[in-house]
Amino acid sequence: MSPSGADAKEAPKYTKKDFESDQDVRWCPGCGDYAILSAVQKAMPDLGIPKEDIVFISGIGCSSRFPYYMNTYGFHTIHGRAPALATGLRLARPDLKVFVVTGDGDGLSIGGNHMLHVLRRNVNVTILLFNNRIYGLTKGQYSPTSELGKVTKSTPMGSADRPVNPLAFALGCGATFVARAVDRNIQHMEETLKRAARHHGAAFLEILQNCNVYNDLAWNVMYDKEQKVQYELRLQHGKPLLFGPADDRSAVIMDGVVPKVVKAKDVPESALWTHDERNVNAAKLLADLFAPDFPVPIGVLEDIEAPIYENVLLDQEQRALSERGPGDIAKLLTSGDTWRISEGA
C-alpha cells in the first residue's frame, strides 16, 4: 500500500467507454451535468489509473447521482457528508484514487463544515463542485451561491442571504489546489479536471453548471458568445492576466493592493500581473473577480504543496511499527500493573 496514491500500478489502455456504467442516466434533458459526465469519462483514461482503484463519492442532489454513471467503485451517500466519508476511506485505503462529487447546496450549505475540514486537512481527494446557484432536486429553492434577492419558490420576494463564493471559501479553508471550469467549455474543463485529479492533496474544482429547468443561463456571461469573449479570463501559470477581444485586450493589474482593469495597450508590460499558481494571496484576489466589473477567471487559481492528512497519520503508524513492531494484544493485556491470584488463595 503506497500512501502516495494510486499511480504505482500499471493501468490498461482505456477508452471513454470503459468508464460508462450500465445505468440509465436520469438527469433532465439539457442539464449541464451531461457535459461534465462526458468530460470526466473522457479524462479518465489519461489519468492512467486502473479503474478498480477509482472511487467516486457523492452526497445528495442532482450532481450526487454522478457515481451511478461511472463504471468505477462508487458510493452515493447522505447530504453534505461525502468529504467526511472520503476522509475515512482515504485513511483506510490510501492506495485508492478518490473523487468527491458535490453541488453548491450539498457542498457549501449542509456540508459546508465538512468541506472546510477536508480542505484544511488536505486529504488527497479530488472535489468536483457543480455550481448551478440553485437547488434542483428539491425543485427550485435558492442555494448558498444564489445572488442576493433571488426570487424562488422559497423566497417569493427575493432571498435575504448574501452568496458565498466557492473559490474564496476554498482558499480561505487553506485548500492547496483551487480551480474553476465551465460546463460548456468542454476542452478546458477536461484539461482542468486532469490537473485537479493529478494534484497531491485536496483539489477543489468549481464547475459552473447550467440548470436549464430551475436557473437557466445563470452563467450566461460564460455562455453568450459576446459576453464570453469580453469576460473570460483564462488563467495560465506564468502568463499575464489578459482578456477580451484579440484586437482590444484588457489586463488586470494591481493598483496598490486593489485589482484594476485597464486597457493592455495603456500599460507597460512590466506593469502586467503575471499569474503564479503558487501565490496564495494572489489567488485570493483572483477568486473575488467577477463580471461585470472584472473578468471571470477560469482555470487553476492556485496549486501548492502541503502535508497530506492521511500520509501524516500513516507515517506515524509506520514509525510506531518500525520502532516497536506490530501490536500484540496478549502482551498489552498483561502490561502495566497486574497481580496474580493463585489457586486456593
Binding site: 467503485y73 457528508r81 483506510a92 497486574t338
Partner: protein
C-alpha cells in the same frame, strides 16, 4: 459483617477484620480525589480484594473552589467476598472541605468513620458551603459518627517544611496525607502508590519526594496519633485464579477493538468527536497505532460516523464512539450503514440527558434511541456490557457481528461502566471466537446485494478488486442487483430483509444464564451497568429465603431466543433501569408479560438496597 477483634502482632492498636468496606474520598475538584481513589483502589487490588469503584466529578474542569457543585468524589467498595457494586452506604468518608462534608455526609452510616481536614473549615469555605456555623463544633456530628478532626494541611506542610517548594505546591500534596492515613486504617500496602509516585514524578524529584513524605506522614499519623484506636483488615477475596488487572469500561472497549483488529487482520478506523464520557476511548486508541488502528478526531459527530462508514466501504472496520447527544447526530449516518449494509460499530457511552443533561453522570436512557432513533425502518444490532471488564468482550463481539452480518452494531455502555473499574481476570486472546472476514474477489456471479443464505449478509468487496466495480448508496435498491429501485413490492421485501438479517443475529446468542432458580416468584431482568447492584440485591433476597432469580441481558437487539420462555417461569418480572422504563416497555411489547419497572433517574447507579426493597415489595404485593 463480621467484626471480630483480633490482636495484631507488632502494632499496639487492635486490628479488626472486616469482610467488606465502602469508602468515599471527597473534596474540591482540584483536590486530587480521583487520583487518591484510584491509588487506594490499586492498593486494595494488591491486597487481593475484589473491588468496585464509582468516580463522581463535576462537569466543570475546575469548578470554583469550595462550592457544593465543585465537589469531586471517588467511592469504592472492597471485600473478601465477591463485590458487585461500589456500595450504597459509606463505612468511611474523607471530607477535605465543608462542601464535601455537606454533599456526602448523608450517605455515611450512623457510627461510620468520618475524617475531615479541619483547616479547610474556615469562614470562607463554610460560607461557600452554606454553613451558618462550623458543623465540626456541632456535638451531634460526633455523636452520630466516629468523627476524626485532622489538620491535614498543617501536618502536610510540617512533613515537607524543608523542601524547596512553594506553599501552593506543598498544599497540593495533602491528598497523599489522606491516602496514607486511610491506607493505614484499612491496612493497605503503600508499595503500589510509592511506585506510582516514582514513575509519575521521576522527572521532578522534589515533587516525588514531597508526595512520598506526605503519604508516609499520613500513614504514620494513623499509627501514632492517639485518636485512632483501631484499624481494619480485609482478607483477600476468593477469586478465580489467574492474572488480574484493574480495568475501566472505556479502556476495555478500546482494547476490545485492538483485539478485534489484530484477530481480523484488517485495519480499524475510529472516528470520534470529543465528548464526555466517551473521549477516553479515542485517547486510548490513539496510543496504539501499532495495531493498525487509525483514529480521526473528526470535525463533528456526523463526520465521525461517516468517516467510519467510508473506512468500512474501503474494507476496514469502521467504528465511531460518542455519548447520547452525539449518537443523536449520527442517526442519519447509521441509517446509511443500514441501507448500504456495511459493517459499523457505534459506541454510545450513555450519560444523563436530554440535551446536554448531566455530562459526567450515568444513565441508561438511550436504549430507545439505539433501537429506534432513526428515520423509517432502520434495524440495528444493540449490545450492552454488564461490567467494566465485560466491555472488552462486547467491543470484540460487536466487530465480529458487524463484519459477519454486514450490519451496524450499537454498543450501549454508560458513564458508570466507562469510568468505573474492577479487578479483571485477563483472558487469553486466543480463546476469543474468530472474526472471519472474507472479502469477495470472485467475479463470476457477483452482485452487490447477493446474500449469504445463513446470515443474509451481502458480499463485502474492497474497492481495488478488479472486475467487481459497483455502486452503492442510500437510495432503495433492488435486492441482489443493487440497482436503484422504487418498486413498492421490492421496498417491502427489502424492509423485511434488513429486519430479518438483524433477527438472525439471535443465532449468535448463547443460552441466557440465570442467577437463581429456574422458576420462582420474581425474576429481575437487567441490562448494562446495573448488573452489580441487581446481582447483590437478588443474592441478598435469596439469602432471606425468597424465590428470586435474575438475568442480565447483553444482547438488546435481537433479544435472546430463550428469553420469552424464561420470563414465563416466574410469577412476577421486575426490570430495574436508570431511565423511565425502556427495557420494560420492550419486554411488555415483545412478550406480553406483565413486567414492572423500578426506575430512578438521578445520574447515579442504582443502589442494591433499593432494588432489594423493590423486590420485596413485589413479593409482598402478590402475597
Amino acid at each position: 459483617m463480621s467484626e471480630t477483634a483480633t490482636p495484631a502482632t507488632g502494632v499496639s492498636k487492635s486490628l479488626k477484620e472486616l469482610d467488606r468496606a465502602v469508602i468515599r474520598f471527597a473534596g474540591d475538584s482540584g483536590d486530587g480525589m480521583q487520583l487518591t481513589g484510584e491509588q487506594f483502589t490499586t492498593e486494595s487490588a494488591w491486597a487481593g480484594n475484589d473491588i468496585a469503584t464509582l468516580p463522581n466529578f463535576p462537569a466543570e474542569i475546575r469548578a470554583p473552589a469550595g462550592t457544593l457543585f465543585g465537589v469531586s468524589s471517588f467511592q469504592l467498595q472492597f471485600g473478601s467476598q465477591r463485590v458487585y457494586t461500589p456500595g450504597d452506604r459509606l463505612d468511611c468518608l474523607v471530607a477535605m472541605n465543608p462542601a464535601a462534608l455537606k454533599v456526602h455526609v448523608g450517605d455515611l452510616k450512623t457510627g461510620g468513620l468520618l475524617i475531615v481536614n479541619t483547616q479547610a473549615f474556615d469562614k470562607r469555605n463554610l460560607d461557600k458551603a452554606g454553613y451558618a456555623a462550623n458543623p465540626l463544633d456541632d456535638p451531634t456530628l460526633a455523636e452520630r459518627y466516629r468523627l476524626h478532626k485532622v489538620d491535614m494541611t498543617a501536618l502536610t506542610h510540617e512533613a515537607i517544611k524543608d523542601l524547596a517548594l512553594n506553599a501552593k505546591e506543598k498544599d497540593r500534596t495533602k491528598n497523599f496525607f489522606a491516602l496514607g492515613l486511610v491506607s493505614w486504617i484499612y491496612t493497605r500496602p503503600l508499595e503500589p502508590t510509592l511506585e506510582w509516585i516514582r514513575k509519575k514524578f521521576g522527572k521532578t524529584p522534589s515533587i516525588a519526594e514531597a508526595n512520598t513524605r506526605v503519604l508516609k506522614a499520613g500513614h504514620a499519623f494513623g499509627e501514632t496519633a492517639e485518636i485512632f484506636g483501631e484499624h481494619y483488615a480485609v482478607e483477600p477475596a476468593e477469586m478465580a485464579p489467574g492474572l488480574y488487572r484493574a480495568m475501566t469500561g472505556n479502556r476495555a472497549l478500546a482494547w476490545g477493538l485492538l483485539a478485534a483488529a489484530q484477530r481480523s487482520k484488517v485495519p480499524l478506523v475510529y472516528g470520534a468527536y470529543p465528548i464526555t464520557p466517551a473521549s477516553d476511548i479515542l485517547h486510548e486508541l490513539a496510543l496504539h497505532k501499532r495495531f493498525r488502528v487509525r483514529t480521526i478526531q473528526a470535525e463533528d459527530e456526523i463526520a465521525a460516523v461517516t468517516s467510519a462508514i467510508g473506512a468500512s466501504f474501503g474494507g476496514a472496520i469502521g467504528v465511531t464512539g460518542s455519548s447520547g447527544p452525539g449518537v443523536a447526530l449520527k442517526g442519519e449516518g447509521i441509517g446509511l450503514a443500514v441501507m448500504a449494509e456495511l459493517p459499523l460499530v457505534i459506541f454510545d457511552i450513555q450519560r444523563g440527558g436530554p440535551s446536554t443533561g448531566l455530562p459526567t453522570k450515568t444513565e441508561q436512557a438511550d436504549l430507545m434511541q439505539a433501537l429506534y432513533g432513526r428515520n423509517s425502518e432502520s434495524p440495528v444490532v444493540v449490545l450492552a456490557p454488564a461490567t467494566p471488564g465485560d466491555c472488552f468482550y462486547i467491543a470484540y463481539e460487536a466487530v465480529r457481528i458487524a463484519a459477519k452480518y454486514m450490519v451496524p452494531v450499537i454498543v450501549l455502555s454508560d458513564g458508570f461502566l466507562a469510568n468505573g473499574s474492577e479487578p479483571w481476570l485477563i483472558p487469553d486472546p486466543a480463546t476469543l471466537p474468530p472474526i472471519e472476514i472474507g472479502f469477495r474477489t470472485e467475479k463470476d456471479g457477483f452482485f452487490p446485494y447477493l446474500r449469504d443464505p445463513a446470515t443474509l449478509a451481502r458480499p463485502w468487496v474492497r474497492p481495488g478488486t478488479p472486475g467487481l466495480e459497483h455502486r452503492i448508496g442510500g437510495i432503495e435498491k433492488q435486492d441482489v442487483t443493487g440497482n436503484i429501485s422504487y418498486d413498492p413490492e421490492n421496498h417491502d421485501h427489502m424492509v423485511r430483509t434488513r429486519a430479518e438479517k438483524v433477527r438472525r443475529v439471535a443465532q449468535e446468542i448463547p443460552p441466557t444464564s440465570i442467577n437463581g432458580p429456574a422458576t420462582g416468584d420474581v425474576l429481575v431482568v437487567g441490562w448494562g451497568g446495573t448488573y452489580g447492584a441487581i446481582t447483590a440485591a437478588v443474592e441478598r433476597t435469596r439469602a432471606e429465603g425468597k424465590s428470586v432469580a435474575s438475568i442480565h441481558l447483553r444482547h438488546m437487539n435481537p433479544l435472546p431466543p430463550d428469553l420469552g420462555h424464561i420470563l414465563r417461569e416466574y410469577r412476577r418480572v421486575l426490570v430495574p433501569e436508570i431511565n423511565s422504563g425502556q427495557l420494560v416497555r420492550v419486554l411488555r411489547a415483545e412478550y406480553l408479560v406483565d413486567a414492572v419497572g423500578f426506575n430512578r433517574v438521578r445520574g447515579l447507579p442504582l443502589a442494591s438496597e433499593e432494588i432489594h426493597e423493590a423486590i420485596n415489595q413485589l413479593l409482598g404485593s402478590q402475597a
